[in-house]
Subunit: 143 residues, 2 copies
Amino acid sequence: MTEHSLWRFSRALYRAINERHTDELDALIDDEVEWAIYGPIDMFPFFGARRGKAAVLDVCRQVADNVRVHRFDRESVMLGVDMAASMMRFSLTALNQNKPISLRLAQFAQFKGGKLSNMRVIVDTFDLVEQALGHPIHLPKIA
Amino acid sequence: MTEHSLWRFSRALYRAINERHTDELDALIDDEVEWAIYGPIDMFPFFGARRGKAAVLDVCRQVADNVRVHRFDRESVMLGVDMAASMMRFSLTALNQNKPISLRLAQFAQFKGGKLSNMRVIVDTFDLVEQALGHPIHLPKIA
């Protein structure tokens, strides 16, 4: 039984972010990859859509410039033949502010020949924004 | 081949929200269900964690009081034996404000004997909050 592409990709992404090694990651991304992390790109320029390996490697380097990952837990994982979905919780430091951030997200990944061909990430963005600002945003009760 | 529990549950949830029929939904929820929609509960009291069928039916009624679903698209779906993960996009109306809302979320569901036993939902909450407020929140660029 061979290892699922998700695990290889996740290790390579972790190393790219924390150790700034993108060689392994480079080998695991399809040239025509489609990528999106949904969220406010004004505050986090590494959010948003990217297309093609060069753009995705570049965005991973931007993430590496901004965060260090301390730990992550997969709260749910589903593996298909060439797909994976997981719900994850990250403990990070935002490097420019030296601030701890706790982040929950869902990722949906597709692979082609073992390489990442599609990645979509949904983040609990309001919680992230409040932590990055360092104070709560006042909200009216609407419901 | 029998229908996956996700499809039955989704139809019942849709009817519970749009037509205020919870009988079908009642039959498809495990008594000991665990449920969480992550997001700002000050603004949306139907977000947050719930435990047990009565609490989950109650929260579905609260959602029904507040939104009408116009359409939803599953952008990704993964089905396992007793699990499902999907990334979805909803077009809603917030009833109290008569306001259109477009919402992206990820749901991870587990079933036991065909009944929902666990549901976790991650929402792109910042985007939702801005739409519900009706104006953008100014954010500094931090990265």
